[in-house]
Amino acid sequence: MTQSRARALLLTPAGLWYAAMLLLPLAVVLIFSFGERSAIGGYAPGFTFEQYANLPARFAAFRNTLTLAPVGTVAALVIAYPLAYFLAVKVSPKWKTMLLVLVIVPFWTSILIRSYAWIFLLGGKGIPALLESIGLDDVRLLNTPFAVLVGIVYGYLPLMVFPIYVALEKLDKRLLEAAADLGTPPWRAFLQITLPLSMPGVLTGSMLVFILLMGEFLIPAILGGGKVFFVGNALVDLFLQSRNWAFGSAVAVALVGVMLITVGVYTRLVKRFGASRDDVGLM
């Protein structure tokens, strides 16, 4: 058997899987988005731009997603950076691995259960009760944008810490020593050396978190109480409750479109800052 035939045989099952479960479904969504809703729900064939013209009906979902996703990304970045810096620069090698694993572990455990935990902390007997004891009455946290933001940061923090850590870890410490020898104050060395050199990690982490946030459903569903909803929640409603597949498909296509544009802009930025794709660790 020739090598190219062996390769073809090895690739066939994966190729078929991608064709049937990835390409076909995505093509169906695209086709359905130009169709119509049938009288009994579901899909009726057609060719119309009506569904796309109707997108403003879900404006609130897009607005919430496009506000809370960037805000959540930035908040996660602000919290993650000092921790990544601490892990990469300050911690002794003995503890490094363990502390790093402790950051990553939550990411690989059920986000459903981790988000649900915040119902206790933000609910009446949690933080609001604490605030009451210091005189702040009637603070409602659950089912507010703030609750969703906390859930987002909590859920995706690990994914932000890791790439920044990798970038900072690779940083040549001799550069900082040289800067210190030349009399540069530490804060300037940080701004002029450490921060620019860690940009690839910052950009990778932000992109990963932002992409995942765009498709988020669970966190707003659990902590937003139906008041703070994302495009993901609109999609669940359109496909599982009102069964408007044509319009739902148009919303999904619009979501992926917005995502691709963002990723495109980001990739440009990343190229400019010279990031490498290898920074994207899975664990």
Binding site: A6, L87, P106, S110, L157, G215, L218, L235, V236, M283
Partner: protein
């Protein structure tokens, strides 16, 4: 700085800790600690709906992880050192599978499968008296699609760090290509394959959003937990959550150890 790190770790682990703590409560309230007991664990483990959902989740996670690992490893082997259009197409497919939000994969799979079933079922039923529907099969196929892509990335990453000299030496010493593969290459990529399997299992076991769309009449454990939360929090859910997290944790530790070993080998 150190204080800050402690605060972030507290932020990461406090909610998990609270669930675990409340799960041992003896009282009926889900958000208060009243005494200590294991009664909620007993309750959860004796709840037929929970056990049914757990069994569905384990079955789907196991089947999808096995398929994803086998198919993904095969693809990774073929793709290593490959150039040209096929390689580019597969790289793109892996990227799309990893990047497209789970919710979009979920709805796309739902409407595609339902449409295909609607087309095929009338004559399939006439022919065999049997028809296709959403369930374990669609769950396995949808979860496996994503996790297969993870396996491809992991195993290909490991393949690319392999020492080519070992493979040449094996060939020079008269081993057949198959012999070289099983005796030289395979043992070296095995840790990456096993880590891929465990990650695939964990992903499938924890996934809610894809399963929510393609589960059909089946209920996986995350779907059960989600619909229970909708009805209100109970200590029983805390107990289930604690057990699920403990199981994921165990899987992860093993996966980490395997990856570490694979990286250590790569450095040698």
């Amino acid at each position: 700085m150190r204080l800050y790190a402690w605060a972030v770790y507290a932020f990461l682990y406090l909610p998990i800790g609270i669930i675990a703590l409340f799960s041992f409560s003896a009282g009926r309230s889900a958000s208060q600690m009243q005494g200590f007991s294991l009664q909620w664990y007993g309750r959860a483990l004796n709840n037929p709906f929970v056990m049914e959902a757990l069994w569905t989740s384990v079955r789907v996670a196991f089947l999808s992880a096995v398929l994803a690992t086998v198919v993904g490893t095969m693809a990774a082997l073929a793709l290593t050192g490959m150039r040209g259009r096929t390689r580019k197409v597969f790289d793109l497919l892996v990227q799309i599978a990893v990047m497209i939000p789970g919710i979009v994969i979920g709805i796309a799979t739902l409407i595609a499968l339902v449409s295909v079933f609607d087309l095929v079922n009338p004559w399939l039923e006439g022919l065999t008296g049997w028809k296709l529907s959403l369930g374990t099969g669609s769950l396995v196929a949808a979860h496996g699609l994503f996790t297969m892509s993870l396996v491809v990335l992991l195993v290909r990453g490991r393949m690319e760090t392999l020492d080519g000299a070992l493979i040449e030496a094996s060939g020079d010493l008269g081993a057949t290509p198959m012999g070289t593969f099983w005796q030289v290459t395979f043992p070296q990529i095995l840790p990456a394959i096993l880590a891929g399997f465990l990650l695939a299992f964990t992903f499938s076991f924890d996934d809610f959003i894809i399963a929510f769309f393609v589960a059909g009449a089946e209920t996986t454990l995350p779907i059960y937990v989600f619909s229970s939360i909708r009805r209100g929090v109970t200590p029983e859910i805390n107990a289930i959550g604690t057990m699920v997290m403990a199981a994921s944790l165990l899987m992860l530790i093993v996966a980490q150890l395997l990856l570490r070993r694979s990286q250590a080998q790569a450095r040698r």
